[in-house]
């Protein structure tokens, strides 16, 4: 199968999954209703918000599917970029402490009873701050290998921030704050509105630009730094550009969705399994696979049980076995 047809196939599957996701849920909507409602909207007759179907369709399901597409695509691309530039297929976007930083920011904001908007802002800044701190420490400690220094200080700073989260959890009010903290840390798309997604989109687009522009050079980073330099690549600057882009993207997403694990680790593997490691083709394929993965998982999260299952739990339930199967069966074709 050519790369073009792989991309078209994934796109087709994503559209199909989104349509199915529109239909199913606690409130059943028939395909005919959707076609009628969409037709009215396209004909600019206005959406009838007094109808329950229209409210569920336009205010709840569509924004949520949009969020799943954006969050899934962004986390997967960030994971692919991190894995490539760290030359390590076991790296996830959390490696430099984005999640821990964003988590501490959000938890702090919830503890201080700030609004949802401010909580998002705190999470976004917390993620960026953690990675900046990790990079600064690594830069000062770059005696031999910058990568090793980054990973080590990422682990240390990440666990420091995680301790901060635990501390605030203990201090917080167990009746009101603790439950929202727990829910935020589990991650989910149930509270995301269309305006949250639209707020994160500019950041994600901005972060995507360097990844697209430097797509070929990413391939060279998978060799030793000296080799890549001898082939004419400014390794340090290229790697910094990728770190900034992937971190910005992860922070923007984590701020609106909370910490959704496994997507950024599993999907890059799926994508590499589908098309091989060339970042030029891996970039669109991992975006589409990530969007598809999260649309399917999130639809399952809100339909398989009478109560909604937190998305982070489900991504682990689906992602981990999938990852293990790839690990065992894929060999080094990953």
């Amino acid at each position: 199968m050519s790369n073009r047809s792989r991309i078209l196939l994934l796109l087709g599957l994503l559209i199909l999954a989104s349509l199915v996701s529109l239909l199913v849920g606690q409130h059943d909507i028939s395909p005919a209703t959707i076609v009628r409602s969409m037709g009215r909207s396209l004909a600019d007759l206005g959406v009838d918000m007094s109808s329950g179907d229209d409210v569920v369709l336009w205010k709840i399901r569509l924004p949520r599917i949009l969020a799943a597409v954006v969050v899934g695509a962004a986390l997967s691309v960030a994971g692919t970029a991190y894995q490539g530039m760290f030359r390590n297929p076991l790296v996830s976007p959390d490696i430099l402490g984005v999640s821990a930083g964003a988590g501490l920011g959000a938890v702090l904001a919830i503890y201080l009873d700030f609004s949802v908007r401010v909580t998002q802002l705190f999470a976004f800044s917390g993620g960026l701050l953690a990675v900046t701190l990790v990079c600064a420490v690594a830069w000062c400690a770059r005696t031999r290998s910058l990568i090793l220094a980054l990973v080590l200080s990422g682990v240390a700073v990440g666990s420091l921030f995680a301790s901060g989260i635990s501390l605030i959890k203990i201090l917080s009010d167990p009746h009101s704050q603790l439950s929202s903290i727990t829910f935020w840390l589990l991650g989910g798309l149930n509270t995301i509105g269309a305006d949250d997604v639209l707020g994160a989109l500019p950041w994600i687009t901005l972060a995507l630009a360097p990844l697209v522009l430097l797509r070929w050079r990413m391939n060279l980073l998978s060799f030793e730094d000296d080799e890549a330099r001898a082939m004419g690549v400014d390794v340090t600057r290229t790697r910094i550009a990728f770190i900034v882009a992937a971190t910005l993207m992860t922070s923007a997403v984590v701020a609106i969705s909370g910490v959704i694990g496994w997507v950024g680790l599993v999907v890059p593997h799926m994508a590499r399994f589908l098309t091989g490691p060339d970042f030029r083709i891996l970039l669109p394929v991992s975006m589409l696979s990530g969007a598809l993965f999260l649309v399917v998982t999130d639809t399952a999260a809100r339909t398989v049980a009478p109560v909604e299952i937190p998305l982070g739990i489900l991504t682990a339930f689906i992602g981990v076995p999938f990852f293990l199967v790839l690990l065992v069966r894929g060999g080094d074709r990953r």
Binding site: G84, R87, N88, P89, L213, L214, R215, W216, R217, N219, L220, S222, F223, E224, D226, E227, R229, A230, M231, G232, V233, D234, R272, G276, P277, D278, R280, D332, R333, R334
Partner: protein, 281 residues
């Protein structure tokens, strides 16, 4: 013509000095081999020449211009680097690995096009490994990997190849194959600087040999003139008898084992000229 000119070069990492007083020039279309024990500074010298490590003192001219005046991209089009055969992290196809050598020829935001692909395939064909083009680099044997990495360096279309122990960890046949390819590339005008731990390889392949020990050049000249049991004994800290017993060089020993002669001077342009003419015949 001189492609690399090192004068009184002092090398090392930051404050840690590894090599001193390195004076050496590499002409167009000659193979120069660095020979010396582990830790003598061979790799540091290669890194300095590749512009990966700034020289501490002295001057280093590449193609007549000081190294500092070269951008990384320009340098990558003049000097190709062949590291030791290694394992890859991601399963790139052989053709894509070679295509990466084209990076210095495409724009910062660009990607290689059909013309670059043609160059990559041509480089594979020159080394007789075109059938490997579609294979997974991770599944290749050590010898195949080394040839692929040489093809990748050739795709940079360089004037000089810098090779770090190109025959290390290869089997007998692959060692011979790689050395033959090196001579073939030299005959087509490429300059090659390589390191090895096997004096026979230096003797068979190099036009000139640099004997390095403790970061200094002990001697420099044609293998025939400079690779005596006496000088190799001094290089590796062995007795002449041990060297003579264990090493069969492809030319008769010019001097009797018991007669230690003075080493040729490291900087003798006239001598160098003769050497190169000899090797061309």
């Amino acid at each position: 013509m001189t492609v690399m000119d090192l004068r009184a070069l002092c090398l090392g990492y930051g404050k840690r000095e590894i090599g001193r007083d390195i004076t050496l020039s590499i002409g167009a279309g000659e193979i120069v081999c660095l020979l010396g024990p582990n830790g003598c500074g061979k790799t540091t010298l290669l890194k300095t020449i590749l512009g990966l490590l700034p020289p501490l003192e002295g001057t280093l001219h590449v193609n007549g211009a000081p190294l500092a005046a070269w951008t990384r991209r320009e340098l990558a089009r003049f000097t190709g680097y062949v590291p030791q055969a290694h394992a890859a992290v991601f399963p790139f196809r052989v053709e894509d690995v070679v295509l990466m050598g084209r990076t210095a020829h495409v724009g910062l935001f660009g990607a290689p096009g059909p013309a670059d692909r043609a160059v990559a395939r041509d480089c594979l064909a020159r080394l007789g490994i075109l059938p490997l083009a579609g294979r997974n680099y991770m599944h290749l044997s050590g010898g195949e990997r080394q040839l692929v990495i040489i093809a990748r360096a050739l795709a940079q279309e360089p004037a000089v190849l810098v090779m770090d122990e190109p025959t290390a960890s290869l089997d007998f046949a692959n060692q011979i194959r790689v050395l033959e390819h090196m001579r073939g590339l030299r005959n087509r005008g490429l300059s090659i600087l390589f390191t090895t731990h096997q004096p026979e390889h230096a003797a068979r392949t190099a036009d000139r040999v640099v004997l390095m020990r403790d970061g200094r050049i002990l001697g420099l000249g044609a293998p025939r003139d400079i690779m005596t049991p006496e000088s190799l004994g001094r290089l590796y800290g062995l007795s002449q008898e041990t060297v003579a017993e264990n090493l069969r060089l492809p030319f008769p020993d010019p001097r009797p084992v018991s007669g230690p002669g003075p080493l040729p001077s490291p900087t003798s342009p006239a001598h160098t000229e003769n050497t190169r003419k000899d090797s061309r015949r």
